[in-house]
Amino acid sequence: MSIRVQNIVKRFGAFVALDNVTLDFPSGELVGLLGPSGCGKTTLLRIIAGLEAPDSGQVFLDNHDASTADARERQVGFVFQHYALFRHMTVFDNVAFGLRVKPRRQRPGADEIRRRVQELLSLVQLDCLADRYPAQLSGGQRQRIALARALAVEPRVLLLDEPFGALDAKVRKELRRWLRQLHNALHITSIFVTHDQEEALEVSDRVVLMNRGRVEQMGAPDQVYEHPATPFVYGFLGAVNLFHGRINGYQLQVGEENLPLAENGFQSGTEALGFVRPHELDIDTDLASRAGIEARVERVLALGAMARIELTGAMGETTCHYEVELPRERAAVLKLSAGQIVRLKPARIRLFASDSQSAEQVPYLPVEHMVGGYGENI
C-alpha cells in the first residue's frame, strides 16, 4: 500500500520539527528515512502511524486521506526504538496481543491465534522462545519479537523507528541483512528511520535524507550517494574533504593554489565549495609539480585493503584537515611518513555555490562526517 504525506508541518513549541514535508512512498518498497538526530524523521514516522498529529498537512494511506483516522484504525505495524514489548507478558502473549484485543466479531478463535503466532515466531526464527519473558531475551531477539508482534495484525504498512539503534555492531549487521530478506519475502510497504548512513544505503530501496525538518533529497541509494543534491547530503553520506575557493574559468582557486575542474556551471569569480570524497583524492610526492594542494602527512593508517591517510594543510591563517583513502599497494609505493609534505590531487570535485541557501547549512554538518574543511566555521 502506498503512503503519501503532503505539506506536513509540526512544531513543538518554537522548534519546527517538520517544515512542509511532502513525500511519496511507493507501494511495496523499503524506504530509509535518514538524517541527524532532531531532523524530524521519527516525528514523521509517528505522524504516519497516527501517534502524533501534524499541525497542518495530510497523510494518505492507499490514496485515502487518513489524516483524521485514529491510530487504531490505520492498520500500521510500528516497531519502537526500544521495542516497547509488554514486559509482563510472555513472547507468545506479546505476539498474540494484537489478535486478542480485536473486537469480538473480528477476533480469531484460540486455535487460530495459536497457529498464527507460531507461524510468526517461526518467521522470525524464535519459535523456541514462546514462553520466555522480554527481560530474558537479548536485544536482537527482542527486536525480532517486536517485529513479529507488529506483523501479527497483518498491517498494511510497517514502520520501524531506529530498528537497530540499540544493538551492538555485529548483531546490527546480521539483523540488517535479515530485515532485507524479510522484506523481500513479504513485500509490505515499509519505512524505517535511522541516523546511520551505511545502514540506510545498504538496506533500503530508496533513501530519504532529512535535515532540520526538511527533505534534502530522495532517491535510490547509489543515486543519492553518487549525485548528492545538496552539500548536506554530500557531507552526511560519508566522509568529505572540503575546499573553499573561488571559480576561475575551469579552475577552483583555493588560496594560492588552483584545482582543475572537469565541468563548471558557475560564473568566474563566484565563491564556491568543492567537495571531494577521501577515495577521490590522490597523493603526489613530487613537490615540483604545481598541481593540487600542498598538505602535510599526519598519520598513516593501513588497515585492510585500504590505507587511510590523515593530513593537514594551511590555508592562510586556518589549518584544515584532510583525509585520503588509497589502495594499500598505492600507499606502499608512495612510502608516506608522518611530517612529509605532499600534494593532494582531486580526481573529481563536486561544486556547490557557497552563498546558496543550502550551503549555509554546511557549518551544521555533524562533526563525525566532517574530516576536512577550510573556512571560519568548520
Binding site: R72, F78, H88, Y133, V153
Partner: protein, 301 residues
C-alpha cells in the same frame, strides 16, 4: 520501585564493606550499629511491647471484655466503614492523578504534583478544621445543609471526608514515579495494535503498576484506620456513633481505663504489624516480577 532500589543497595553495600579501600574501622561499625539498635529498641520496640503488656496486664478476660464492649465494637465497625469508603475513593483519585501527571502534558502539572503532597505537609488538625469551616453549622454550607437535613460534621460523611483528605497522597505518590519511569511506549504499542483505551489500561497499564498500586493501597489503608487528628476535629466524639478506634482509645485513656485503652490500642498495633507484613510481601512480589515477570502473566490470560 523502592523494593528494587533496596535490592541494588544491598549488593552495593556488601561490596563497599568488603573493599579494604572503603572499609571503615570495626569500632565505627559497632558504634553506628549500637546507636541505631538502641534507638530502635527504645523508641520503637519498647512502646510496641508495652502496648501488648499493658493490654494483657489484667488478664485475657479483661482484654476480650474491653474489645467486646458495644462502644468498642461500634468503633471497630465505624473504622472499617470509613476505611472501606475512603480507600477505594483514594484508589481511584490516586490512579487518575498519577495517570494525568505521568502520561499527559498540561498546564499546571507542576502545581498539581506539588498540591498532591499538601495533606502530608498540613497538620491533620487543620485538615479537620477546614471541613468544619466549610460544612459545620457556622460554615459556608452549614445553613443549606441544615435546611436539607444533611449531616456532614459530627457524622460519618465528615469522618470520610477528613480521612480521604489525609490519605490522598499515598496511592498517587507511589504511582507517579513508577508510571513516569515506565513511559508511554507500551501504551502506544497497544494502541497501534488496535487495543481500545479500556483494553490498553486493563491489559497493559494495570499489570505494570499492579504491585505499586497494592503497596500504595496498603499504606493508605493503614493511615485511614489509624488517623487521629483530622478525624478528632470532625467527629464530635459521640460514643457509639462517631468514635473511631483511635478516638475510642483516647476516651478510654482519659477515663483511666488503662487496660481497656491498651487492649483497643493493641488492635491498632496488630493492624500496623499486619500492614508491615503485607507491605514486605508486596515489595518482595514486586521485585520477583521485576526479575522474571513470571508472577503477573496470569492477569492477561
Amino acid at each position: 520501585m523502592s523494593a528494587n532500589v533496596a535490592a541494588r543497595w544491598t549488593t552495593q553495600t556488601r561490596r563497599f564493606e568488603k573493599n579494604a579501600a572503603t572499609r571503615e574501622p570495626a569500632w565505627v561499625k559497632a558504634a553506628l550499629m549500637t546507636v541505631a539498635l538502641l534507638f530502635f529498641g527504645l523508641f520503637l520496640l519498647l512502646p510496641l511491647a508495652t502496648v501488648f503488656a499493658e493490654a494483657l496486664r489484667k488478664g485475657w478476660q479483661v482484654y476480650f471484655a474491653a474489645l467486646a464492649e458495644p462502644d468498642a465494637r461500634s468503633a471497630m465497625v465505624l473504622t472499617l466503614l470509613v476505611a472501606a469508603i475512603a480507600v477505594p475513593l483514594n484508589l481511584i483519585f490516586g490512579l487518575a492523578a498519577a495517570w494525568a501527571i505521568a502520561k499527559f502534558d498540561f498546564r499546571g502539572k507542576q502545581l498539581l504534583t506539588t498540591l498532591i503532597d499538601l495533606p502530608f505537609s498540613v497538620s491533620p488538625v487543620i485538615a479537620g478544621l477546614i471541613y468544619v469551616l466549610i460544612f459545620g453549622a457556622q460554615g459556608w454550607f452549614g445553613p443549606w445543609l441544615i435546611e436539607n437535613d444533611i449531616k456532614m460534621i459530627f457524622a460519618v460523611p465528615g469522618l470520610v471526608l477528613a480521612t480521604v483528605f489525609v490519605t490522598f497522597p499515598f496511592v498517587a505518590r507511589e504511582l507517579i514515579p513508577l508510571m513516569q519511569a515506565q513511559g508511554r511506549e507500551e501504551e502506544e504499542a497497544a494502541i497501534v495494535l488496535g487495543a481500545s483505551g479500556w483494553k490498553t489500561f486493563w491489559y497493559v497499564t494495570l499489570p505494570n503498576i499492579k504491585w505499586g498500586l497494592i503497596y500504595g493501597v496498603v499504606l493508605c489503608n493503614a493511615r485511614a484506620m489509624g488517623e487521629f487528628g483530622a478525624v478528632s476535629v470532625v467527629s464530635g466524639h459521640i460514643r457509639g456513633r462517631t468514635n473511631t478506634l483511635p478516638l475510642h482509645v483516647e476516651i478510654l485513656y482519659n477515663e483511666y481505663q488503662f487496660a481497656a485503652a491498651f487492649a483497643v490500642a493493641s488492635l491498632l498495633a496488630l493492624l500496623a504489624l499486619l500492614t508491615l507484613i503485607i507491605k514486605s510481601f508486596v515489595e518482595w512480589q514486586g521485585r520477583q516480577s521485576m526479575h522474571t515477570s513470571q508472577n503477573i502473566s496470569e492477569v492477561i490470560q
